[in-house]
């Protein structure tokens, strides 16, 4: 890809003094974020209920990392993205950006927040004004903040070069003259125009073809390195999140169910929802078939979510305590620790399977019905094509192929 061979043209961030808190300070701390959307009905349009889109989410994003956020459709990922930029007013909750509280009297104003955090949306088509050429769309942000038109246009051209588009050729083009991948590159350039430190990618590659998706992902990783960015990568595609993330946060119906380093989440998932989600991925080997899906049905209605743990209606380990008490993520919430919001991993919860857990951070060997869906071990040996003593896929001896290898 030519973008990796050309010298980077984009000017680096102006000063190191933008980093106020130091490397240990999380870039973004989210505390108790809550957003309910009112549902109106009846003759007088009264509020009859609330869609509980985001309910008490607390997490943090460390500097220079990529935090992947995964979850099903309707779990509140996009609402979260908009809340972090204050495009929606949260009902409750605080944001602390690099040590400064956001939207408070003494802290950071929204204007400053928007210079530090930017977003790339999923739909590359509706993200661009159809009446503005690409370079004008990119230059709009700097111009709003006072940059002179000529300087903004030069910056836009530099950014187009940085994302791999020739500014002579693509600058004056309108969005309908660009392909999907090119439009998404323009969106990335537009997000970078204000020199943000955190970029939220709200399903930014979901609508692209696989080959274009790979190019855009590589571009994102290069830009992250060149410009010292931090990413919040929201996606429903588990493989992409595994590829690009350092830490992963799993969301379910507005709650965080699990958060931890990407290897820990993908190799030793703890929460039953995460396990089921990862087991739902299809294997590339056509001989390996899944007869039953690990996760059936749709998520419950966000207007009237189940009491207690929201996953209990689809969880094979649901008990009475799960309906009474809502499991919460144990503190601390930032750092590389692998934490999970589930009663099974809380020794004091009263869950019958919880007594086996000694420490909340050590994965417990609980029997998951998920394993029954995969091919038995004898069949695995027959199925695995490589006749060598070690299976190439999971680097373990053939006789002990773990079911996760089949994912």
């Amino acid at each position: 890809m030519s973008a990796s061979t050309q010298p980077h043209m984009f000017p680096r961030l102006s000063s190191p003094t933008r980093d106020r808190g130091g490397p240990a300070q999380p870039l973004l701390i989210v505390s108790n974020l809550r957003k309910y959307f009112p549902v109106r009905g009846g003759i007088l349009n009264r509020t009859v209920g609330h869609i509980q889109a985001v309910d008490g989410m607390s997490f943090s994003v460390m500097k220079g990392e990529t935090l992947g956020i995964v979850g099903e459709s309707g779990c509140g990922k996009s609402t979260l993205a908009r809340l972090l930029l204050y495009l929606l007013q949260p009902d409750e909750g605080e944001l602390v950006f690099d040590g400064e509280a956001v939207h408070t009297w003494q802290g950071m104003s929204l204007q400053e927040l928007r210079r530090n955090v930017q977003i790339v949306f999923q739909d590359s088509d509706s993200s661009l004004n159809p009446r503005m050429p690409a370079e004008d769309s990119i230059a709009y942000g700097p111009r709003v903040h006072g940059t002179k038109p000529a300087a903004a246009k030069a910056l836009a051209r530099d950014l187009l070069r940085a994302v791999g588009l020739d500014p002579e050729l693509f600058g004056p083009r309108y969005p309908h003259e660009l392909s999907g991948g090119q439009k998404q590159r323009v969106n990335i350039a537009r997000a970078l125009a204000l020199e943000p430190r955190l970029v939220i990618l709200d399903e930014a590659v979901s609508a692209l073809d696989k080959s274009i998706e790979a190019q855009v992902l590589n571009l994102l990783m290069e830009l992250k390195q060149q410009l010292d960015l931090t990413y919040l990568f929201i996606s429903h595609d588990l493989n992409v999140v595994q590829f690009i993330s350092d830490r992963v946060l799993v969301m379910y119906l507005g709650h965080i169910v699990e958060i931890g380093p990407v290897e820990a989440i993908y190799q030793a998932p703890k929460h039953p929802y995460t396990r089921a989600l990862l087991a739902s991925r299809l294997s590339m080997d056509p001989q390996v078939r899944m007869t039953e899906p690990p996760l059936v049905g749709d998520p419950p209605n966000p207007i009237a979510p189940p009491s207690g743990c929201r996953f209990r209606t689809r969880c094979p380990h649901a008990q009475d305590v799960c309906a009474r008490v809502t499991p919460r993520l144990p503190p601390p919430m930032h750092g590389a620790l692998h934490t999970v919001a589930c009663h099974i991993y809380d020794a004091a919860s009263g869950h019958p399977e919880a007594v086996a857990a000694v420490s909340p951070h050590r994965p417990v060997e609980i029997s998951t019905p998920v394993r029954q869906n995969t091919v038995t071990q004898r069949e695995q040996r027959r199925v695995c094509r490589s006749r060598s003593s070690r299976c190439a896929t999971c680097a373990s001896a053939l006789s002990r192929v773990s079911p996760l290898c089949m994912l």
């Binding site: 030519s2 973008a3 050309q6 908009r82 930029l85 495009l87 929204l110 204007q111 928007r114 210079r115 930017q118 977003i119 949306f121 739909d123 509706s126 993200s127 661009l128 004004n129 159809p130 009446r131 503005m132 050429p133 769309s137 709009y140 942000g141 709003v144 903040h145 070069r161 791999g164 588009l165 020739d166 002579e168 050729l169 004056p172 083009r173 309108y174 309908h176 003259e177 969106n187 537009r190 125009a193 204000l194």
Partner: protein, 309 residues
């Protein structure tokens, strides 16, 4: 996708072993801007150019009526009344008071076209502003404005124009005011729909995420996308306006005699329709041609201004 110059590329070897210079990449075409595309499309849309030409002809003849009219439109002559085409220098004959039809039609065009275009321009500015405000401001403001417009929508447009004009007392100024009031609700509705559609798109959110204020968003993003449909709709309203203005004059609520006006001429010549039918039809023909040409011109404009085709 980076455009390398020919000097950077390695020399290619052709099949028979000769080493030649690589073919030069074609020079990048300068992309056309939006208005250049619109102009290009209009120049090559011959049908729209025809109708546009006719409209231009009518408008110019109305503007230059004093220079083009062969006779004084107010000069009566009781001897030569209702004469046919070509009688003693009167190219289109004379009306029931002996006045030259051609001159009266030319001067009448001034009145009719003014009453056609001015109310639409006034209604576009007021209705368009109200619609954009209603579309962008959201729930309560939107509700107040649009429900008020719905009240006016309940009345058929001609009846409303007649009622307002009659209450105010008739005359050209009151007629134009009445027509403006009649056209504000539909323009407001078109503007509000367009603004609401644009407002929900991601690029407006992205503009807000860039820290843009209300004025900047409305000026750069909302207006350019919402005003297109409004102007196209307004240009089709000109033909309706000419018709209703003629109707008002026909009913006696527009200009007063002896001012020449196509609708008024239709009214007075109606009584002689069996005696001189071609004469009586003339003002009607001109109203018809003007309306149709404005309508088809607005259709052509809509096709030319569509960004996606």
């Amino acid at each position: 996708m980076i455009h390398h110059g020919a000097a950077d590329s390695p020399a290619l070897q052709t099949l028979d072993g000769r080493v030649g210079a690589p073919p030069k990449a074609p020079k990048a075409l300068k992309a056309r801007s939006y208005w250049q595309t619109v102009g290009y499309r209009l120049r090559h849309d011959y049908l729209t150019l025809c109708f546009g030409g006719v409209v231009l002809l009518i408008v110019l003849s109305a503007i230059f009526a004093p220079l083009l009219a062969p006779a004084d439109p107010y000069q009566t002559g009781m001897i030569a009344r209702l004469k046919p085409f070509g009688y003693k220098g009167h190219l289109l004959g004379t009306d029931e008071l002996g006045r030259d039809m051609l001159s009266r039609l030319l001067y009448g065009g001034r009145v009719s076209l003014t009453m056609g275009m001015v109310p639409v321009m006034l209604a576009t500015s007021i209705g368009g502003t109200l619609g954009i405000v209603a579309g962008y401001a959201g729930r309560h403001v939107n509700m107040v404005i649009m429900r008020t417009m719905d009240v006016f929508y309940a009345f058929p447009s001609i009846l409303l124009a007649v009622a307002i004009s009659g209450t105010l007392g008739g005359g050209m100024r009151n007629g134009m005011l009445a027509l403006s009031l009649v056209f504000i609700p539909p323009l407001c509705r078109v503007a509000e729909t367009a603004t609401t559609q644009v407002r929900n798109l991601d690029f407006v959110e992205a503009a807000r995420a860039s820290g843009a204020g209300l004025r900047s968003i409305v000026w750069h993003h909302i207006l350019s996308n919402a005003l297109g449909p409004v102007f196209i709709y307004a240009s089709s309203l000109v033909s309706v306006s000419v018709l209703i203005a003629s109707g008002l004059s026909f009913l006696g609520l527009g200009v007063e005699p002896p001012t020449p006006d196509w609708g008024l001429m239709l009214n007075t010549l109606r009584q002689v329709i069996y005696i001189a039918p071609s004469l009586a039809a003339l003002p009607g023909v001109l109203i018809f041609i003007t309306s149709i040409c404005f309508n088809l011109l607005s259709d052509g404009l809509r096709a030319a201004m569509d960004i996606r085709m």
